[in-house]
Amino acid sequence: MLKKRLIGVVTVKDGWAVQSFGYHRYLPLGKPECLVENLDRWGADEILIQVIDRSKNRSGPDFHLIEKLGKLGLETPLIYAGGVSTLEDGVKIIQLGADRIVVDALLHDELVVVQKLSERLGAQALIGSLPLSYNSGAIGWFNYRSKTSKLISNELLVLIQSGIISELLISDWEHEGLPRGFEQKLVENFPVKEARLIIFGGISNSEQMSALLEYSGVVAVAIGNFLSYREHAIQMYKEALRALPVRLASYESTFSLIEVANAKN
C-alpha cells in the first residue's frame, strides 16, 4: 500500500535556511545543508528545499546549492523549489541532484513551459505550487510577486486535470509558520477533487497531521518550522501517526555526510 508521506521543508532566503512566518518575517536557522542532512538522517520521506527569493529576484534556480546538496549523497528523495523558469532549468536541477522540482511562477506565466518540463522529465517529477488562502467561502490563489490574489484560472485547472503535473503543493501562506494554522477548508473546497495534494503551512502537531492525512486526496504533509524546535521531530511525528499508512520511523546513520563530502573534496 502506498504510504502517506511526511516531507521535511527547508526554506532558504539569501543563502541561509530560515524560519518563515507568513513569508514576511524570518528568523535565521543556519546552513541549508545542515538542516537537509538532519532530515536525511532522521528518515523524512522526502525533503523539500524551497529557495524563496529566486523567482522574485529573477535570479533563476540556486544551482550552487543544489549541487552542494547533490554531493552530500542524500538517501532521501530531494525536491527543489525556487526560480524554475525554463526547460533547461528543470533538466539541470535534476542532473545536479534533485529528484523532483516545484513550479510556481510558471503556473502564472507560462503553462507551455510546464508542459515541456512534463514531456522531458515525466509528470512524476513535477509538482505545482499553489499558495492559497480561504476567505468568504472562496479560495484565492496568491501571486507573491504582485502580492495579489485571484481565483485559480480555468487554464490551470485544466492542466491539473490533464495529469501534466503529478502533485500539488497547497500552501496556506497566510498561516504559514503559525501553530495549527492550516485552514482545512482549502482541502475540502479544492476545485479538482482527484488532485493529489501535499499540504503545507502551519502544520504543527500530530493530531492536525492525522486529520489532514485522513483526506483521500492528501498524499503528504510538509512541515517546516516545527521540525526545527526539537531534534528527531520527524521520527516523533511518525511514531504518533502509526495508526495511519505512514512509513515507520527509521533510525540509522549517525555520521555527518557533510564531513564525508568535505573529506572527499
Partner: protein
C-alpha cells in the same frame, strides 16, 4: 564479495549523483561514462534515469549506447535498470507516443489509469523465495513513476500494489529492472542493492 566495479551509463538524463554516492558508500568502485572503452572494465552495468521514455531512448540512440547495451546483455554482462532505466529495458512504452525500447525483457510500459501516478513509499512483495531480493520482502521503497510494466509473469520477480498489483522488479537472465529508486530508499535500498549486485556478479 570480491572487489566490484559498477559502470553507470551516463546518457545525460537523471540524477546520477545519488546512485554514485550510494554505491561508493557501499564499497563499490564506480565508473560514470558513456564510452564503451570506459564501461568495459565494469563488472556490472547500471542504467539509471529520471525522465520521459521517448527522450531517453532518443538520447541512447544518439550516443550509440543502444547497440552497446544490447551487445553487453548478449554477452551476459549483468545490467540493472533503475526506474526509467528499468522501463527502457523492455520492448516498448506508450509514454506520450509509442516508442520502442531495448527489448531485453519482453513486455510493454503502460500508463496507470486516470493519471494515477505512483509516488512515494510502497511495499515490495517478492514472488520467488529463492530470489536474492528475498531479504527485502515486505520492505518499503521509494517509487516515482506514472507508467508500469506489463509482461509475462515469469519475468516478474516482485510486485507492488497501487490501484492494482504491478511488477516492481523484473528480470531476465542477467538483466534486472527495478521500478523504484534503491538509491533513495535509505537502508532498505542499500540492502537490496548489495544482495542483487552480489548475486549477479558472483553468478
Amino acid at each position: 564479495m570480491r572487489a566490484c566495479t559498477v559502470g553507470i551509463i551516463d546518457y545525460g538524463i537523471g540524477n546520477l549523483a545519488s546512485v554514485v554516492h550510494t554505491l561508493r558508500d557501499m564499497g563499490f568502485r564506480v565508473i560514470v561514462s558513456n564510452k564503451a572503452a570506459d564501461l568495459d572494465v565494469a563488472n556490472i552495468l547500471m542504467l539509471p534515469g529520471v525522465g520521459a521514455f521517448p527522450v531517453a531512448m532518443s538520447i541512447l540512440h544518439e550516443r550509440g549506447l543502444v547497440d552497446y547495451l544490447l551487445q553487453q546483455a548478449d554477452l551476459g554482462r549483468p545490467l540493472i535498470g533503475i526506474c526509467l532505466g528499468m522501463q527502457l529495458l523492455v520492448n516498448a512504452s506508450y509514454e506520450h507516443k509509442y516508442t520502442s525500447g531495448l527489448g531485453l525483457i519482453p513486455g510493454d510500459i503502460l500508463p496507470f489509469a486516470n493519471h494515477g501516478g505512483h509516488i512515494g513509499w510502497n511495499t515490495l512483495v517478492v514472488m520467488d523465495e529463492n530470489s536474492p531480493c528475498m531479504e527485502s520482502n515486505g520492505e518499503d521503497f521509494y517509487f516515482n513513476h506514472s507508467f508500469f510494466y506489463q509482461g509475462p509473469s515469469k519475468y516478474q520477480v516482485a510486485i507492488t500494489q497501487h490501484l492494482m498489483p504491478f511488477a516492481s522488479i523484473i528480470q531476465r537472465d542477467n538483466v534486472v529492472g527495478l521500478q523504484f529508486h534503491p538509491e533513495k530508499s535509505q537502508l532498505a535500498g542499500k540492502i537490496l542493492l548489495r544482495n542483487l549486485i552480489k548475486s549477479l556478479v558472483d553468478a
